[in-house]
């Protein structure tokens, strides 16, 4: 956000009604959208205008028949979104999902032979799941987490999996070289992370990144308190990093907290 003078602020505010109705031109829209993240007052005003507009746009008529069926069939045809998160021991309001992962040609998978790590990770997972089970009342959610836990356990034990530890970096706050998370990535692109070592955040979220060649791709948000997480990453991903962000971002300005190589 750029600091602006009172008169510039007033000029922007005078546009908020038109902005909320999509009735400004592109340059005005860009100015406002640059301003809004840092100005709760203007954000609240836009929210209010949009609620009023929504009341005007309200219609008693139902959507045409058959339209839902088309949407539902579209869902069936879609591959599962790239990152599926279950944040063990947390309320459901902490759940987020990820933006799409860029499609990339797959490359031959390389194995790692760190089996001791996978056994340790499996034990840890069992402990985590036990803690989770005692905290949850919702049976469906338990099933989700158990299924995730079982899938993760299988992945860490699989000889096909690429397994890595994500360690703190020298410029982070923590002591460098500490293992805060472990990852198993299967040849079909399903990845599992045990992220119990990442300290809980009071605000913002952790975000997972994949390194593919000279590109860094977002693999999705991990939430504030990630425990067991599954994600998707294809064969071109040779490294993983986690950053802390205020919200899910396309590009990070922050240093990685932890990283690990899959090569």
């Amino acid at each position: 956000m750029v600091m602006i003078s009172d008169s510039e602020h007033e000029a922007l505010r005078s546009l908020l009604g038109a902005y909320a109705l999509d009735a400004v031109d592109d340059s005005e829209r860009a100015q406002i959208e640059d301003h809004l993240p840092g100005c709760p007052r203007c954000r609240a005003e836009v929210g209010d205008h949009r609620e009023v507009a929504a009341a005007l746009g309200r219609s008693g008529a139902p959507a045409p028949e058959g339209l839902w069926d088309r949407i539902a069939s579209e869902l069936d045809g879609r591959t599962a979104p790239p990152l599926r998160l279950v944040l063990a021991g947390h309320g459901t309001d902490a759940i987020t999902t990820a933006p799409p992962v860029v499609d990339r040609p797959s490359r031959r998978w390389r194995r790692t032979a760190v089996r001791i790590t996978s056994v340790a990770a499996s034990l840890l997972l069992v402990l985590l799941l036990a803690a989770t089970v005692t905290q949850r009342a919702d049976i469906a959610e338990l099933r989700d987490e158990q299924a995730l836990g079982e899938a993760a356990t299988t992945a860490f034990a699989s000889p096909e999996a690429r397994i890595t530890e994500l360690r703190t970096l020298p410029d982070g706050n923590a002591e460098p070289g500490q293992v805060l998370a472990r990852v198993a990535l299967l040849p079909d692109g399903d990845g599992y992370m045990l992220a119990d070592g990442l300290p809980d955040l009071d605000e913002g979220l952790y975000q997972l990144w994949g390194v593919a060649g000279d590109q860094v791709i977002s693999l999705g948000a991990l939430g504030r308190d990630p425990k067991v997480v599954s994600f998707r990453a294809d064969g071109s991903v040779t490294g993983l990093m986690v950053t802390q962000e205020a919200e899910l971002v396309e590009r990070s300005e922050n240093n990685a907290l932890v990283s690990g190589s899959l090569a």
Partner: protein, 204 residues
């Protein structure tokens, strides 16, 4: 979580369930809001096929990126309608659509039959919203109608009404504020009032 309990969820709760890929949660959100989204798109585009495409796009986007909805910033209804409106306006402003529309608007103006009472009547909105809209000063009402339902920028509205741009800009904002006051005064809980308790504390 069974389908029955989904009906009791707030909109914010539904979106959490959607983020867990529960298709029935998206179906419930659709049941609550698709009519309004479709109605707005059809009104803006005067084209049923395009309107259906927009409904489809809006709900698939909710499925793909549910985190874009922030319950702290407003109701799910207003979020979906804002997405719908933005998309419809993009289409409208595409060059060919623009030309067609301008011709149509010129015809309307020429016929002097551009009766806003009828336009308002046509909205099929709740009675109190109609009352509030009809109760606005005419300049404010026209500016809001042309911007929101016509998909015009405030500059275009100013040209159409032959008024200064600054005046139109102020009237849109003042009119929206006045409408809000009216709607709150009439004790209405906001656009998501029929949405299964989904207004999440953001009542009008």
């Amino acid at each position: 979580m069974g389908p029955d309990s989904l009906q009791d969820l707030t909109d914010a709760g539904l979106v959490v369930a959607i983020s867990r890929y529960r298709e029935e949660a998206l179906a419930e959100a659709y049941r609550r809001h698709a009519g309004a989204v479709y109605g707005l798109a059809r009104r803006l585009l005067s084209d049923e096929t395009l309107a259906e495409e927009i409904v489809q796009e809006v709900f698939l986007r909710l499925w793909d990126t549910p985190e874009k909805f922030d319950p702290g910033r407003g109701s799910l209804r207003s979020f979906l309608l804002a997405q719908c409106h933005g998309r419809a306006v993009d289409l409208l402003r595409a060059e060919t659509a623009r030309r067609r529309r301008e011709e149509k608007d010129q015809r309307r103006t020429a016929e002097a039959g551009y009766d806003l009472e009828l336009e308002v009547w046509d909205l099929a909105v709740a009675e109190h919203v109609k009352d509030a809209l009809v109760g606005l000063p005419e300049g404010e009402r026209r500016a809001i109608e042309l911007a929101y339902f016509g998909g015009h920028t405030y500059r275009e509205v100013a040209a159409m009404l032959d008024q200064p741009e600054g005046t139109v800009k102020s009237r849109i904002r003042a009119g929206l504020k006045r409408l809000r006051t009216e709607l709150v005064g009439s004790g209405v809980g906001g656009p998501a009032v029929d949405g299964g308790g989904g207004s999440d504390g953001h009542d009008l």
